[in-house]
Symmetry: C2
Subunit: 600 residues, 2 copies
């Protein structure tokens, strides 16, 4: 290298006027005005105008003349004040420019497949992922990764200051599928045996508590071979934590401090603590979901009681079948077309239909007040009761109703609530509203497997007062679990764990895991529980998702340097890819796939 | 939990005398003196004597009476000064004790398979790994992991302060075997395709440089499916770094600062910088290895010139075959038995034999001065020259000689040098001697594959002045590579990378990697090099090994929480393990192993 960088562009300012410097970077833009060449030179820290004047050394001018966008160059020259009226207040170096005396071209560049100085959100994601290095190099391209770096560091700062130890746990471990599917890694040394990539370090962190670590954390990769729906990745990053001698409120209080620290430090936002706590039951009742978005109100109301004597056959039918009638008040009225769309929205989620009633507070007559094909089925007193139940203060509102099983009614109205809030711009932006959800059921019934399954995982401690229910009515047992929800999205989940072998065995039994299977899969945990396992609990955060939310991004792919697509492919490297047949045979495996075209 | 911890044991001191506290931990020892029960209670931070006196509440006394070692308990009571003469200066709470008023037993414990309050180095490693959680819980058991945690944090502190960004790269990536064997991960969605676990994030960090990240690092897991020799692990942790617009000396200077920072911060040791730099050629010549241990002298000498006219047929034969005669001076004499052992040592390494000559400076006669079956073959002037060459100042020394190919002579004498230094206690302990090794050859010849292979990896930049040799004598081309050696063990290695596509293609060609293969494996890198790749270079450290050396441990397994054995097994979890056949079939694979007994 002939010209070596002396300073980052972002460090330059008026103090450098008159000084000679060498900077290095990429050419974002290039202009040529009657022999004067202007380059906008960019490094990670900023943008600088570089001028090659006419009277420059001819060889240097020729070199400069050959420079195209995205060439990578070092330029030496003198910093001067920009001519009056030519300042650019948008950039930190807007008052100055570099008058070049020398240039070195480190590398040329083909023309990028998309211009880097424009808004890249119009570029297809597939193209951006294939050329991720160009997207990252664009002026705002590194912002999410610099932010992520800082968040990670502030997490570590906080946890280290609280006595947490970051301890690395294995990635080549044992397959214990209970929940999602494991990624398997064939073993060459042990024919027929496999490692598995961890879905989380759950068992290891519990073992670390048995080991007396007391406070553990790890920013760690986790792997789930799931059918990728929504915004999931085959590998994702978790902030994993565990503490000994704690109860729910200890973990929750610490996490509130942690969140306050990282939001303050990285966004300058002061969170209000303690975070509200809502039970699973109440969350479903009022928001239709266990991940309620509390940035806005619009609570659901259970109207089963109100409509219990209704002759309206849609409501009647649902109630008679043991279902519910639930309602939602939207502070607006909707056109016929809009109501049709909302009905379609509800039906796509599984509702048979969506009943609605428009209400105008100031309507003089019944007809002016109540507008809906179904009002005729209801006593006016029932309708007036609606106004009371929903505490209507607005001039005009629309009530929506779903009469169905509790599950469908909650799902549909929960989603409708968010949909309408979005549509009506009821969701404040730039606001971060946390809530804890607690008192989850420990088990749910899996129809397919015809057995109880864990709502969280089999190591979750039941509530002490519900322990007797394990024998009588296990579906009623509540878990010592807590999920952290931010703006309607689950960002973390945890629990107090079982630390006694007998209780752990009882839970396995209730989950129809045989003693033999429990021993085979979890024997090492059961062993450890026999050697002085302390009471302990913890939590894990989806770090990709948390950072996405902090940045106001729409997808976790925006905050992962080299993400996979929804179809689990890396568009940059082409992974997964074919390997030599020898590599497979060496793993004591045989091809079991049909010949498929290479493009698959 | 009835009794909740209020304070860590390590925080207690005389200031707490008279105060009531609740502590939690494990019972390391238990004594019973006429109704008074003494427990040594241990948490991560320290050890505390707990006394249950006779006049305590009967129920509490009964509980205390049932407590055995490694039970996990909380104890409430009052801190008091220990009786005169009962102080224990070895522990920080040695002046005080806790007089218990209440106790809660959180969990019982079976008797541990080895006592935790004794030196565990006598316990077999297999047993310690199976019960890793007990080993870690022993009084010094967490020390390596607390240390490792702190080192990692100080690395991050330093690098963050220098503008480095920690960016996470994928673990599910593409197989590009060039060097060690990849661990493969079958893909369920793409029959016949595989991800690979990264041997290092080499290509991603180069891509990040093309992306303008400028300074990258990552503390990252890497995976190599090698036949495990020496002290290797299938998964290990690397400190991975890369910088743009740099040359060798920039990376090396930064690393010297980094090492100084972490040694100062974590060991209180001030390293002397700059570290010495030795060329590959000179390292082999003088130390017989490219990982010289510079804590002690004992340089090898090439004696080929001295013995060029010798009639001694062993030397003669080696020299005539194009080999060398090299020698080593040990500042001691050895018994016949010792000399036999040393000869065996040399032969095990491939030497045909080991010639030796004892020299006594003050010997009055030739026979008193020179003692060896072979002295008769040499002119006295040649022998006197030996004394000069080796700058003998000691009264008695022994010269050792190996006459063989350069490779064998270097290997044998290099190992013998360390062996003798150990035997003679010439290696100062607690000393950390770094050295850079540079000017490695870019290629070496692989007889098995019958082609050139990279000494480091194919992305290493050749020395500028050696570029013409690529066409004429590629084995003479030196690399812009640098290895960091600490006390004779390689802890890091790096290089300036190739940033131009044409040169990268040329290197692939010299490595007999076809254009098609290069495109298939490394196409994404070659593409990236066409879009303004900057000059860049970096380095990677084996973090396990560095921490092992800092702690003076003998094996990296001592500093990894859950290591695998030399046979790649996890003795705690039993990984790798069998999986359900359905899991294999779902990955479009078929069993290809013979039925083997389950114990394999």
């Amino acid at each position: 290298m002939r010209l070596k960088r002396e300073v980052y562009i972002g460090e330059l300012n008026k103090d450098f006027i008159g000084k000679e410097v060498t900077v290095s970077g990429w050419v974002l833009r290039r202009r040529d005005h009657g022999g004067i060449i202007f380059l906008d030179l960019r490094d990670r820290s900023g943008l600088l105008q570089v001028v090659f004047e006419e009277d420059i050394d001819q060889e240097v001018h020729n070199l400069a003349d050959s420079i195209r966008i995205e060439y990578v160059v070092s330029v030496r020259g003198k910093i001067r004040k920009r001519p009056e009226g030519m300042e650019n207040p948008k950039i930190s170096t807007g008052d100055i420019e570099l008058v070049a005396t020398d240039v070195e071209i480190h590398n040329t560049s083909k023309t990028p497949p998309f211009p880097l100085d424009e808004d890249l959100s119009e570029v297809s994601e597939a193209l951006r992922l294939k050329y991720r290095y160009l997207e990252m190099r664009s002026p705002e391209g590194l912002t999410p990764f610099i932010f992520r770096h800082k968040v990670n560091h502030s997490i570590r700062e906080f946890l280290n200051s609280r006595g947490f130890l970051e301890i690395e746990t294995p990635y080549l471990t044992k397959s214990t599928p209970e929940g999602a599917r494991d990624y398997l890694v064939p073993s060459r040394l042990y024919p027929g045996k496999f490692y598995a990539l961890p879905q989380s370090p759950q068992l290891f962190k519990q073992i670390l508590m048995v080991a007396g670590v007391d406070r553990y954390y790890q920013i760690v990769r986790c792997f789930r071979d799931e059918d990728l729906r929504a915004d999931r990745q085959p590998e994702f990053t978790q902030l994993d934590m565990e503490m000994s001698f704690v109860e729910e409120q200890d973990v929750m209080a610490l996490i509130e401090e942690l969140m306050s620290y990282i939001f303050e430090k990285n966004l300058g936002i002061t969170l209000s603590t303690p975070f509200p706590v809502i039970t699973f039951e109440k969350a479903l009742e009022e928001y239709g979901t266990d991940r309620p978005d509390l940035r806005f109100d619009l609570k659901l109301q259970n109207l089963s009681e109100l409509f219990k004597d209704s002759s309206f056959k849609v409501f009647r039918g649902a109630l008679d079948a043991g279902g519910v009638v639930k309602g939602l008040k939207a502070p607006a009225t909707f056109s016929r077309k809009e109501l049709e769309d909302l009905t379609k929205f509800a039906q796509d989620l599984g509702a048979k239909g969506l009943a609605w009633i428009k209400y105008s507070k100031n309507g003089k007559t019944f007809e002016e007040k109540w507008n809906s094909p179904i009002v005729k089925f209801f006593e006016p007193s029932v309708l007036e009761r609606l106004v009371e139940v929903f505490k209507v203060e607005e001039e005009q509102v629309t009530f929506f109703f779903v009469a169905d099983s509790k599950e469908i009614a909650n799902l549909v109205l929960g989603e409708l609530r968010k949909h309408i809030a979005n549509k009506l711009n009821l969701i404040p932006q730039g606001v971060f509203t946390f809530t804890w959800v607690v008192d989850f059921p420990l088990f749910e019934w899996d129809d397919e497997e015809n057995r109880l399954v864990s709502v969280h995982h089999p190591f979750t401690h039941p509530k002490e007062e519900d322990l007797p229910l394990l024998d009588t009515d296990p579906l009623k047992v509540r878990a010592r679990a807590y999920d952290l929800v931010l703006n309607g999205i689950e960002v973390g989940g945890g629990s107090i764990r079982i630390h006694r072998k007998d209780l752990q065995q009882k839970i396995f039994k209730l989950l129809s895991i045989s003693e033999e299977e429990a021993e085979e899969k979890f024997g090492f945990l059961l062993n450890a529980l026999e050697f002085g396992a302390p009471p302990h609990g913890g939590i894990a955060f989806g770090l990709d998702r948390l950072i996405m939310l902090m940045l106001g991004k729409k997808s976790i792919r925006e905050v992962i340097a080299f993400p996979k697509t929804q179809r689990a492919q890396c568009l940059l490297t082409g992974a997964p890819a074919e390997v030599k047949i020898e590599q497979i045979l060496e793993l004591h495996l045989l091809p079991g796939w049909e010949k498929k075209p290479k493009t698959e």
